[in-house]
Point group: C2
Chain length 401, copies 2
Amino acid sequence: MHQHKIKLGIFGFGVVGQGLYQTIKQTKGLQVEVIKICVKNKSKKRLADKKLLTFNKSEILNNKEINVIVELTNDTEFAFEIVKEAIKRGKAVVTANKKMVAGHQKEIFDLQQKFHVPVLYEASSCGSIPIIRNLEEYYDNDSINAVEGIFNGATNYILTKIFDDNKSYSKALKEAQEKGFAETEPNMDVGGYDSKYKLCIIITHVFGVFVKPEQIFNYGIEKISDFDIKIAKEKNCKIKLIAFTRKIGNEIFGAVFPTFVKPDNILYSLENEYNGVVVEGAFSEKQFFLGKGAGSYPTGSAVLSDISALRYGYKYEYKKYFQDLNLKFKDDFLVEVYARSEHKNSIRKNDFASISEEYKSADNHFIIGKIRFSKLTTSSWIRKPHVNVLITPENKLENLN
Amino acid sequence: MHQHKIKLGIFGFGVVGQGLYQTIKQTKGLQVEVIKICVKNKSKKRLADKKLLTFNKSEILNNKEINVIVELTNDTEFAFEIVKEAIKRGKAVVTANKKMVAGHQKEIFDLQQKFHVPVLYEASSCGSIPIIRNLEEYYDNDSINAVEGIFNGATNYILTKIFDDNKSYSKALKEAQEKGFAETEPNMDVGGYDSKYKLCIIITHVFGVFVKPEQIFNYGIEKISDFDIKIAKEKNCKIKLIAFTRKIGNEIFGAVFPTFVKPDNILYSLENEYNGVVVEGAFSEKQFFLGKGAGSYPTGSAVLSDISALRYGYKYEYKKYFQDLNLKFKDDFLVEVYARSEHKNSIRKNDFASISEEYKSADNHFIIGKIRFSKLTTSSWIRKPHVNVLITPENKLENLN
């Protein structure tokens, strides 16, 4: 079998980059060589050979010896510039930058087609779980009905601490940040943005439809109250931040939403910083992938797998896109939710198509009922600080036809 | 991307074959055509176009139009003949026959190398879990320390019924057979042979070492008694039939053994007919794959994925074998076990290297201690009907050096 010798130019040298560098040095038979590492901060001390370091991106982009760029910065627009320039120069790209990939999916796809250069981004989605590779390679024929999962390790860690250890939200968040699971800008995690970027990328490889992050609604875990937790426990549920996409007919739905999860759902027992992805195939029924989703090792491992795959000329085929199944992403469907407010009459009952439960006390009101998703997400009340909304355990989506 | 049109000759038309045939007919865009189906029994009614059926294997093997053979018989030696003849004629092979593949791995590998024809057998191992593909493609660089899991759906179903529903062994077995999970010859499942064949195949793709089924010791679940279950529950454990392989230095260990499993092990909550595989990588830590392991759909789904992969020229690269890591399979290591007998002095205490617990009552005696695996498996007492042996929860193997 033909192998390419990989000569790397790395952008960014944080924990992932450093772990990658160490592993490449230590692992025999990898056939990978680090040629240059581009960093921003000139004063920081680095655990790499000084000769490898540069502060000028051109020293990597214009180096003809380098055939693979590893992009590990946290600057989305700079990252996209690097990717574009690399592809135009015929250099393959490996990136872990989910925000950049999700935001520029179609452009990255087009550039790959035009210049016949692979861009791999397994590390962008669900840490060490090889979900994109599996969706690309293993499920191409098996018509998939749905993919759902816990895509963010930090929020799952926080929810675990809140639920199992009765910790407060702020204490649990601080702990997650100390452990390196949560980003310094926690809204990315707890607001559901990180999960949404991953969902965008996954939808492309599940259904062959390019969806922009702006098209997907995300709701975070910040407003979960002691009362919500009490209700969840009474209903024998946990609360998890679930990202999901589902096909009904020719329509694709998708969102990121905190959800009541019952013990018979495999995601119920997925705790701490773990990520899990459930793939529901028409033929193979449910399959479950689990792995650590946060931290430098899982990401580094995924980056290394992509680099190694390039040795054998691997590229994403985007088979489902080319199958042209005429699927459309829609942000409107019927969903059952629990909507809770600390104030009376905050939640507009008329917005609901049907109501199955209603509760009122001095401090808390809630409604459980079915509502059009477009009505829910554009409602005046969903963004109020004293209102919280969760999807009910069944998460049975219905289309509106 | 170049695609081959697949023209199939199928051997065997049981539930898996029929499901496959139906799915191919129903799924658009598969680019797969069934040319001939070879069956044994002339009198059975079949749900396929009569023109497709044949009773003569040469009508498939000598048909130049057919480029892929799907082997779904339950006759091991006939199956191997078919595979050999197909490869020699340049026809790719997809098979679900774990006993055949495990028993002839090196020969099948050699034939593939010689005739440059792919043989895919994802369906032979752990149903719908794409474990071989992942070990081949995704983990090639990441040095893996261990793989362990529940590889047999029937035994897991039986153990679930015994543990959670307090059913007797015989009743649980009957139920598993009625549901189509257990083979008609239950010893294949409950004796651990089925798991062992899968482990053989998996070891090749984890460590690049060809191991014969005879080299791997398997112990079944048939002798688990009410007392064993009571002890397991007292220790807050369940009993699961675990197949495992682990690398320590340059030595590879592997066996199939009923094992006490604690709640912190992900396999503890894996119930019913599900299979689960834990991959422990040096870098990516633990990853977990879960899917249904028994029944016709999971197998059919895996067969279809392999057929589809052939459209894109996929083949196993056996990268780890070619990396020539000089690993050796050894059947000797130190292991901690629980050995129980209904008779006094049945278990030879002197065989143990150390003993940490000992229990005696009128009806039951047990010892928990460390023992050389080779001493355990060749002991006079392990095969006695009134003696049962389980591996303790830690399953901490030690090599003997």
